[in-house]
Symmetry: D3
Subunit: 158 residues, 6 copies
């Protein structure tokens, strides 16, 4: 036995049985950042509903991706998310847009993967929308910031 | 006009018209890495079809995600990929698993987003399978390594 | 702040937090109609399982579309619908087939969008099946007929 | 035989064989309109990336829905769309937002259903975003405006 | 090397590169059968558009499933099917409904999996529709009947 | 009325209303088998994470398919499965691999179709991975082994 919950005693992958877990309020926030050329960041900041709203498109892509997590991550449970938000924080000092995605659920399993998926797809969408002017953009530091609820309780990134 | 091809002159998002582009052989390779605690890397390396094959599951998740790219990235074209591969390179020195995803197509538009999506979802799947033992795993440095084909020709990350 | 619940204070789209709402029985019925040439209506009415059952196909398409609503409408919550029905009412006087779709749920948010999506896709399927003989078919008057349950209570179209 | 191409001689539904059709440039434009209370239209017109961009969300929903058409309309062929655009025209005189969706393809079958689906889902998304303030909004006059290409040639709504 | 084309030399699963294969007309027919109690078969045979058309629903489910094959079978290529048909043959002698599904494509890879998936999901849908009266129904003998086209040429089940 | 619960009194297909059913623990196990040439079975048995793990890929495909059941079987309810496992039993005597899939749910409707779909897609994936060496593989005897929970109680295949 490996300590990895997604495998049974014989090493076969399975969807963990969460039927015996309590229904609790669960919440998770993930973060990622995409670094780019200064001119690319400027283009995005100039954008709005009139000139082309890169972050509006990326936010929607992230929210919709959260709903597809169980389709993408093979052993994730299908979940009825009660809330998804995606926020952007612009760090001009190092030409970086940070994405913070938060998901909530009243259910039997956590929503960390939903938050991480939302943040990742939002960042990939920024890449897609700007790749014609900056193919060198790099997505850095995708990680779980915080999660609450469930048997394992609260986790916060150090 | 912003220089961003995914917006028209009025700033409205649209799926770029690729009908006039040539059908050429296109290929893209993306890379990402997931850093973890040394014990987590050890668990994964010990795994195999008998004990639990984390990388086998992650590889499949990446390949299947490449096929869903147009569902995830709002302005991507639906594509008939001719080839998808996902490879893992273990960097023991810094407790990191690198994911390299390569996609190919004979078509009218590039496959960079497919390769980036495959690599990202494979890394997220590693996170999912190991999160019970290591919630601090971090996905770093997701970027395009190389692409060939199409009007803009070859790009290689510096 | 705009009064539109799908935006936060800064104008960013988000999936509304329904975690605090009560689980109640919710139901919604939507209607739409498709108008066509008299001969097209005749063709459909002549059809049955032997000659080609246009409405049987459209009904199924509507039911299946209700289940995809959260995939289609960006800020809709994923829901575990308990019931979906799609009915057709033929109005010979004005060569029109009315579609009525009803969805039910025990849950934290309403099912208006599910009913509207089911009705719309059923009507579009009728269009698809008959377009070879009548490209001028027009879908008219898609609207919510009635909804019950939830904090806002009962609504009925006037 | 009924004249309906989606049924075979015995009345069984089938996906029409398009293997023998020519690959031609095909294009279709569909229109729909959503009528609402004057105050609702005002709210939408006031919106932008800062206050809540209803039409930006609806446009994206329409574009993404075009790519899902073969999933929604049972007998549609899966298509590699080369271009999708969704435009909004505000008719203040009758408190109505018109949606025009255009799809293009180099392929063996037309894209009318893709354009109609994009327009319909964009209109339904406007409904979803504004339903908290105006449940009586009505989607009117969904139809094909124009299509070109293919054996049946050009069609224009009268 | 194992002889299994879906693995590379190191045993890693991959989507086979079909970019170098010729575009040819490809066709495949699969068969399956579902055996049931005599009374269940009678119920289905009595059905039509008036009483409940089990086979009409199953046929549509099979056609739609063919379009989802690349989503279901991990290493299948996404394909633009040109034709899908699903037929039923009733064998009263042994209380069995046979499903025959045929798929066609002009493309670089075969459509065996699409035909097998269509037949299987059609049979499972018959099970679903009748399980309330006959849980013992059994799906037997799912196999490829015939395929043509491609480098490996024609195959016919013996 | 036909005795088939998926049709209403007029013979129209509908998704059965389960809103009034109790939330109980429900579980179902389905079985199927794929028969093959002795050499094909040997190839699969030789495989592991190093040489190509056919059963590992098939297991994952089955688990992921269980989550897509409501997308595939037209009148199935969308369900929040709490557990999915897929096991393989090798019967060397008749060159057959048996697939057993088990699904669990705390909910208002049974999970028989989820278990049957998981088993079927796992078997089809084995076919896909080995078809280059053995096109004659046949899937036999797909059926429900056992189900518990719900008003109709326990069922076991005789």
């Amino acid at each position: 036995m490996s300590g990895l919950t997604h495998f049974d005693k014989k090493g076969a992958a399975h969807m963990v049985d969460v039927g015996g877990k309590d229904v609790t309020e669960r919440e998770a926030t993930a973060t990622t950042s995409i670094r780019m050329a200064p001119g690319t960041l400027q283009l995005i900041q100039d954008g709005d509903a009139k000139k082309g709203d890169v972050l509006g498109v990326a936010r929607l892509a992230g929210i919709m991706a959260a709903k597809k997590t169980a389709d993408l991550i093979p052993l994730c449970h299908p979940l009825a998310l009660s809330n998804v938000t995606v926020e952007f924080i612009i760090h001009e000092a190092d030409n970086r847009i940070e994405v913070q995605a938060t998901c909530k659920l009243k259910g039997r399993t956590g929503v960390e993967m939903e938050a991480l998926t939302a943040a990742s797809i939002a960042a990939l969408t920024i890449y897609d929308m700007c790749k014609a002017v900056d193919r060198g953009m790099t997505i850095v530091e995708t990680k779980l910031l915080k999660k609450t609820g469930g048997k394992s309780g609260t986790y916060e990134a150090s």
